[in-house]
Symmetry: C2
Subunit: 367 residues, 2 copies
């Protein structure tokens, strides 16, 4: 399982794994893929710096990357206090009422409130780039499409390529025109921010629309799916949801047992594409929390970044509730495949073996 | 490009083409695939009989099949007059107002009103089966999942296998338990009735859930996509939307130039999944008609079969309006690939060549 992406990024398999966990990212890189650490959880750039130091010490010299969340257009920013004034009282009341109705406990005294918002701000994402470029990263990926051109140039001046997510061929072409080096084609099946076009249709459209190598995202969780992606013209795959169900994830986030239990129980029908997480359509695990927002009396979600600010305290409480029915977590349709919590290395081995088996099956179809 | 399905069905390529046009179906069969004629347009079983006579004379002895629309549970039926009483006045008024607002002309005097409803009724679908089994058909496919067990047994007693659409693995397993021989795995991308799970995720789930061979539907329009489907474990592909943009389609439906023009112009973003066509979620070409049903003042679509009865007169008027912006047509996301109106044989050649190219590309990825 090799493509030109393996030479470009210095990896063994063209498997890129996005994860908010440094333990998972390091394990993906050590198993021959490219671990990409999500930075949005770091409100404080120094905290990210320390975690990247850990990555440098724990990836055995294997390449890794980072993922930021930065819109191409620089939005007006205020302080968090300014921004909070923009949130309607009706929305605040709905969130409070819903938490009460669902029986979500108050945050325990010993749990620190995590703001949960700043990573979505442009200035914070820029500080992530600054910090990451001091480390030997091999990729900066942007979850909101092309970053501003000066950020791309900044990365290139450090010899670091830039990847950008796209849910439409026209967006991919625009990203490449801005200087982006790789496109992550994010199909409808994917967790997190996602568009309407399914991977089967989107991927060849983007491959044909750009010269840049394309990574297939959305619905990829097995070697068969990786083979399908490469048959469609992808140079590699980008996987996210699969890594949530790993033993290494618990090392970074020990309080995620409820989330993992929910993933093991979920079928591919147990996700929903909704604006309640960030204000833009994103696919989440279906829980009582997502259902509450679909009720007749629920308000419409606010635009980005207000919606995430609105729900950030609720996310903390839901997380601490430690109940699989009350998880708020981006996840793709591929979670229907998750049957147990495994080490990253086992998943990587299965991916590569499944890929070879798919190719062997295709061999038998030759005319 | 061969699988065991080729032996089973006596075809050269494992490409099954669904179409309401006998000219297209015959051309698919003659080009080495299996043409499957949609029967829902025939209110009169004798009309279907005559068309199947034509198929027998024009397929050069190549195999072909038929597609019916029959729920597994037999619904209560009344006369059309009884049923029409169940349609609220508000809905009738909305349809009339919308047609007026969109400037859709009244039906010309010389155009016969087509009822458009009866093919959805159980009794009519049964008459389709009766008639079809008098012809040398090689497949009966049911667009609404498993037909009733006695219909499956009736087909089997004539040596004819039965295929059923499924949008979830659990549905596929139920169909096979009923005696269905092939599953058509209908991904979210597909035109017509479709579920929420994308082909990339759905297809391997269904392949693993049933022993029966699986045909991949939803997003398949090129050899690359056929290769992806077979990599995911499918035994063949089921294509629908692609055949709408063929020269042969015009031979059956000469007044479809506006629809074909709309398909050529459409991108993969120009479809919408909505209940306005039949009452169940179905993917349609996005036009001013579908937009009107998404407006704030639009009523909720009625359940099947009432919604199709409600809009059948409107469908006739929209069709006769001959305006690409006013088409009412089920179509999948793959229509973004349609750039011109071509003969069926050209599409088949391209599918087979594209398949071989995809396999050659995969060969280069071997470790």
């Amino acid at each position: 399982m090799r493509t030109e992406l393996c030479e470009t990024l210095g990896i063994e398999y063209p498997i890129v794994g996005f994860t908010p966990s440094e333990h998972v990212a390091a394990a993906i890189s050590k198993a021959g893929g490219l671990g990409v650490l999500g930075c949005v959880r770091f409100n404080d750039a120094e905290e990210l710096d320390a975690v990247l130091d850990w990555m440098d010490a724990n990836t055995g010299g294997r390449p890794y990357g980072v993922d930021i969340v930065m819109p191409a257009k620089i939005p007006t920013e205020g302080t968090q206090v300014d921004i909070e004034k923009l949130i309607p009282e009706e929305h605040k009341a709905f969130v409070e009422r819903t938490l009460r109705d669902l029986g979500v406990p108050e945050l325990p005294q010993n749990v620190e409130e995590r703001a949960g918002v700043l990573g979505w701000l442009h200035s914070v994402a820029r500080s992530h780039v600054e910090v990451a470029l001091k480390h030997p990263i091999k990729l900066i990926a942007n979850a909101l499409g092309s970053p501003p051109v000066d950020v791309i140039e900044q990365a290139h001046s450090h010899g670091v390529p830039v990847a950008a997510l796209a849910g439409k061929a026209e967006h991919a072409a625009r990203h490449v025109a801005n200087g982006v080096d790789f496109i992550v084609a994010q199909g409808h099946e994917a967790g997190g921010h996602t568009g309407e076009i399914g991977s089967m249709v989107l991927l060849p459209e983007i491959v044909d629309a750009v010269e840049a190598p394309v990574l297939a995202a959305g619905g990829i969780g097995s070697g068969r799916q990786a083979a399908a992606a490469l048959a469609l013209g992808a140079s590699g795959v980008w996987m996210g949801s699969t890594w949530l169900a790993t033993q290494e994830y618990l090392e970074t986030m020990p309080s995620s047992a409820a989330m993992q239990s929910a993933l093991v129980d979920a079928t591919s029908s147990d996700t929903v594409r909704t604006r309640i997480y960030t204000g833009k359509p994103a696919r989440l695990l279906k829980t009582k929390w997502t259902a509450a927002w679909e009720a007749e009396d629920a308000p419409k979600p606010l635009p980005m970044p207000l919606q995430n600010i609105l729900v950030s305290h609720a996310h903390n409480r839901l997380h601490e509730a430690n109940d699989p029915q009350l998880v708020s977590m981006p996840a793709g349709q591929i979670i229907g495949r998750i049957k147990e919590i495994r080490p990253v290395a086992d998943i990587m081995t299965e991916l590569v073996e499944g890929y070879e088996q798919a190719l062997a099956r295709l061999d038998k179809t030759r005319g």
